[in-house]
Assembly symmetry: D2
Homo-oligomer: 305 residues x 4
């Protein structure tokens, strides 16, 4: 038997559902951010979503071990027409598909403020008990709307003359401070570790741990009032070989940024081209899918150099 | 038994996989487009993705009849902790989820060039036989990268003093020409029909047909060399009560724009706030998920007024 | 970021995971049940699972309104080979697929004892708080194992000379008693309403309500110690036009049978051939998928006449 | 845009869709098979379907490497009520769920006759071009209906005094012949290799190869006119460390049995309890889900000892 569950709180679709941009990103800040575009070159910072059930293809893209990988299915395709499927009407042919994705740990994604907490409250004292099976009634990813901001890149391995940081490297605040440019309120701070490049060498090595921000570096970014912290690793902070953060609760990067400061996170970026550009500030844009009550969204962040 | 299918053509993930922006959107065009932002206000043009298996919630968002609606599942949530699930480590609590989405006809989305064709060739003579069950080997949505362009709004119902166009209204080119601003090469032309507002009154009426561009209006936009045509209806052109386009093949809007001119399409936009702004040109950005071989992607397009 | 949730309670796979058959179905009862097979003819009582994203096909099979219908995808198929996909090795060709199914309300299925309750306890005082996002830690469908029993058919419309019962008909216990054969402990009682035949005439009429057992009839079956109650309607009891049971809690059929007596339910059977056979007792078998922590399973029940 | 694909061939649901049992399983054969039940004890031969996105639980059940594992989601559960979700009506609480499964290589399943072929024709000259993205128009799993037959067990490792066969062991026909009981037309031949027990020791060892039937043993079973060949390994025949069959096309076990003889296959059985019973013949039953056009189905086969 099927019985309708609790009536949702969201009401009928309409203007009252419209979402805003992040708090710090007021129109003047957005306008100012656009001035960081000097070349007009647009780069995507997303890894491909490579899905299939009949080939090992998705396993060729960096991901955390044990997570269900994206599945992508064609419900009608060119093969069907080759096999004799009749066109629609006078001759239209169509390809259609479906996507199953669990973005955390498997692809470039943005975390909603409901993704992690301690105790009984989410960011800003929203009750965690409102995060239920049918979606987060508080702090869902649909609240983000879209982000247009200045992005500043901390290319740590390039600064240190390395291809990538070692797995146990925890980036000190001091290093961020000396690299510049100093992040301004509302900026998106992008931290490069170079770790995705390890994947091509060996998934096993990729899974052996991950470099990331130190707690003090996280706190320093938080005090700069950045709107978003973004990284090419899987968890902003580092991970051990069990894929877990090892900091104490007080020092956990997700709790510092997401939970205590309401700073959104973007993880598993692809930063090779951005690094090669040599640019350290630019326009940054990200528009998570408006999944109501979602804990995050797969995203394709763009920069304009 | 499971046997690996055809080895994929995509190789290991790496720089060679990186995608570019649409052809017309050269860096100078992008830079020029940014000048259209005068206020700095950011609007999302996406409808919410409202998923659930235990409530009729998704049915409260406009969609075509008969399509599988989005499903959104929480794999761990606040309810589990309320019921006694132990936190991770010293006290971390986490919410995680999964999304199943078939975007055509169900939510705001962008069409890839492999989505529709006639005969045996996709846009630009790519063989349709390369569009297979494991994804489109040609013209997949991952080729888009991201779009940053000037957007120009054709707010047809507002121009005509209507809340929305009638279901059988096919927008003539003449009307677009007289509304201005004239689209420039590389612009994103956004056509508003107002049809989503009908949903709140009655899904049955929403399904009774849809207004859209006339073939000649589609051709006129194509000759303006726009990069993208976007609309708040489901199919750029109009639909009849069976949800089918009724034009002859020669006049089919998808074939005119997508197939013959390689002009990407974005459908099922939410344009109420943009219409209310009174603005007709602005910065437009869309970043489809990099689904390899995808026929399109759910998107959250942004404008900067 | 992804963090492993609570360690599951299920341990590594092994003999300790093996499941048993339902309590009443002791070996002697099973052996005795087999004697009900006199012809050796096997019938399937399942409706087809008809899935597709690009056609309205699934909507041609009876289901409750608003539930997500099954989706079935081919990840490689004959069309791909027609389009040029190379065989595996020396010439093997393979078709592979995936299924997404939410069985309650959409297809022939069996309910687990965790599917419905009132208060804080499942059947037999198992704590409802153990039914969490990662599955039911108590009373999941994997506990069933398999059912082999005598089945007895109450073909109510045939008894009354009707094609199907009216939507508001609630079958009285008296009617079951007078129809015979009297169910014995361990039997599977199958109740036919004929309602699926309405679907072909009109889905709207199918959704206008459903006939079903009256509370007293449910109680009578419970006192007969049947192992399973099965029906061709969607909820054993009747439904109103909102697809809800209208009985008070005390009289709710799911609570009477599933919650208070631990009697499993099977719903949405296809009984036309069984009815036409004229047989009222036979061997009945059902083997739900061993979905750990599942609230039920799609099933294909068989009878041997 | 969404356009309905090719109209399906299946028509509206009705009696004309009803499926039959396998050819050899005539009513007299079924009746005779039931005589093999002497104790009345029912055993399930299925491995659990263990799904989750937030835990590595599914990885604790034997499966082939690289296949997408089952995903199981609760759309409403006891945790939601613990967190404050209101009951339905006067106090009903409900748990509901969804399952995503790609059964080949991940769980106990039955292969349809459309699952594998060579050349352009399926079994019995059905055109392979009818196996398309929206399902197999020929030889789909829904054609099986249900199987009730005598099962005979070839417990090869027990016969040889081993816990399990070595990875490179290919069972010769001679061994089957000497073990008895000789399979009769319409029997289900169950071949035990013991390989699943390796999983508990080491998934890596499980993936290092698999023992299975030799081609001549497959041919011998085919000449015995068995209705089904079932096994606890993943592919009836053996696999190498790449999880591929290494026989030439002429000798491929799937082609011998499924393609040339129309003998259905069941793979990834759990046979420990059956082996421990010491029984070699019994009643065997399997009822695949009636997935229209499916290449197979997850199943929970039962035996009655």
């Amino acid at each position: 038997m099927m019985i309708s569950g609790e009536p949702n709180n969201w009401g009928r679709f309409g203007p009252e559902d419209q979402r805003g941009t992040l708090n710090l990103l007021t129109p003047p800040v957005v306008l100012a951010a656009l001035a960081s575009a000097t070349e007009g070159r647009v780069l995507s910072l997303a890894m491909p979503i490579r899905g299939s059930t009949s080939s090992p293809a998705p396993t060729t893209v960096p991901h955390l071990r044990g997570r269900p990988l994206p599945q992508h299915f064609m419900s009608v395709d060119g093969g069907d027409y080759a096999a004799g499927t009749k066109p629609v009407g006078a001759g239209l042919r169509v390809a259609d598909d479906a996507l199953i994705v669990t973005h955390h740990g498997t692809t470039t994604h943005m975390d909603a403020l409901c993704h992690m907490w301690s105790g009984d409250e989410l960011y800003n004292a929203h009750p965690a008990a409102r995060v239920r099976s049918y979606g987060a009634g508080r702090c869902g990813i649909e609240r983000v709307g879209g982000v247009v901001a200045r992005g500043v890149l901390f290319d740590v391995p390039r600064h240190l003359g390395l291809e990538h940081l070692p797995a146990d490297f925890r980036i000190p605040a001091e290093l961020l401070r000396e690299m510049g440019p100093e992040p301004q309120p509302g900026d998106v701070a992008i931290v490069r570790t170079g770790w995705p490049s390890v994947w091509r060498r060996s998934p096993e090595e990729y899974w052996s741990g991950q470099p990331g921000l130190s707690p003090e570096a996280g706190r320093w970014l938080a005090t700069r009032d950045v709107a978003v912290v973004a990284s090419d690793n899987a968890a902003i902070g580092g991970l051990d070989e069990r894929q877990l953060a090892t900091e104490a609760l007080e020092d956990d990067l997700h709790l510092i940024l997401l939970h205590r400061h309401g700073i959104h996170l973007i993880e598993m970026l692809w930063l090779d081209e951005l690094s090669a550009s040599g640019r350290t500030d630019f326009v940054f844009m990200v528009a998570p899918l408006a999944i109501e009550g979602g804990t995050g969204s797969p995203v394709n962040p763009l920069v304009i150099l």
